[in-house]
């Protein structure tokens, strides 16, 4: 518990310092100026959503291979946190786009595939709510989660493969890509901060799912005890 609180405090401090570095330490971008600083929250959340969905993908495979519930718990934890991160990406993106492009949104390959990714994992979470049997729920969502992950490489390569309104990649991009060293350091700091928050959120959500499993087990035990008691009373009659 003490370790968790310490880690949460460190993550929050990193977020605050990351915000300060994004505003005051990172150099001004020549064409977009201040609004470009959204980059330091937008990109780390995009990367973290990919990491979270990759965790879901691995957990889903592991569940199908082992049928151990802990992989299902990790899958749902990763999916929820991934959806939270991509929600941030989908909100901060248009806030950045409006002053720069003059529009909030356009249906280009990068934006559309990101929105589809958000829809897929939201559907993954909704699907779980429709199924009562825990094993069927875990099984269906594992298959769906593996299928949904196919959109992640599509999002990543969309602005490399097609001409998009969304800028071309500045990290691991073509010959003309690249980032000022100070911008790179601030981006790394912000990414570490968001990754720490993501790790805390996944751990908390995993704990919630484990408790839910414990609750279902207990409820089953209480219900079966109640049924046994009723049968005994009827037999005595």
């Amino acid at each position: 518990m003490k370790g968790r609180v310490t880690f949460a405090l460190i993550a929050s401090a990193l977020m605050v310092f990351g915000g300060y570095a994004a505003l005051y330490i990172a150099p001004d971008e020549k064409t977009m100026h201040a609004i470009q600083r959204i980059f330091y929250f937008h990109v780390p959340n995009g990367i973290c959503s990919f990491i979270a969905f990759f965790i879901v993908f691995i957990a889903n495979f592991a569940y199908l291979a082992t049928r151990r519930p802990k992989w299902d718990w990790l899958g749902v934890a990763g999916a929820e946190v991934g959806v939270a991160c991509s929600t941030i990406v989908l909100i901060t993106g248009p806030i950045w786009a409006h002053p720069v492009w003059g529009i909030w949104w356009t249906w280009d390959a990068r934006l559309t595939s990101t929105f589809v990714l958000w829809l897929l994992y939201t559907a993954y979470l909704l699907l779980r709510g429709f199924l009562d049997d825990p094993q069927r729920k875990a099984m269906f969502s594992a298959v769906f989660g593996i299928f949904a992950f196919l959109d992640v490489p599509l999002v990543y390569f969309s602005n490399r493969l097609w001409r998009t309104q969304h800028p071309q990649p500045v990290i691991l991009g073509g010959a003309n890509s690249g980032l000022d060293p100070t911008m790179g350091k601030v981006l790394l700091l912000c990414w570490v901060a968001v990754a720490c928050i993501m790790a805390i959120a996944i751990a908390d959500r995993y704990r919630l799912e484990r408790l839910r499993y414990e609750y279902e087990e207990l409820r089953f035990e209480v219900e079966s005890r109640g049924t046994d008691a009723r049968t005994q009373v009827e037999e005595r009659r």
């Binding site: 100026h33 909100i91 908390d204 609750y215 209480v222």
Partner: protein, 46 residues
């Protein structure tokens, strides 16, 4: 600073989403803990 409002809004969105999410997980955790304690109590009472 030009577009400061947009920058501030984006920064607030990041905090708000994480904060609301963590609060929602904490509330769900607290409710589940209560339900588990209630069931354990029920089992003890037979």
């Amino acid at each position: 600073m030009k577009n400061f409002e947009s920058l501030f809004a984006a920064w607030m969105v990041v905090w708000a989403v994480f904060f609301v999410y963590e609060v929602s997980v904490a509330r769900r955790l607290a409710k589940l803990r209560d339900d588990i304690n209630r069931l354990k109590q029920q089992m003890r009472e037979g």
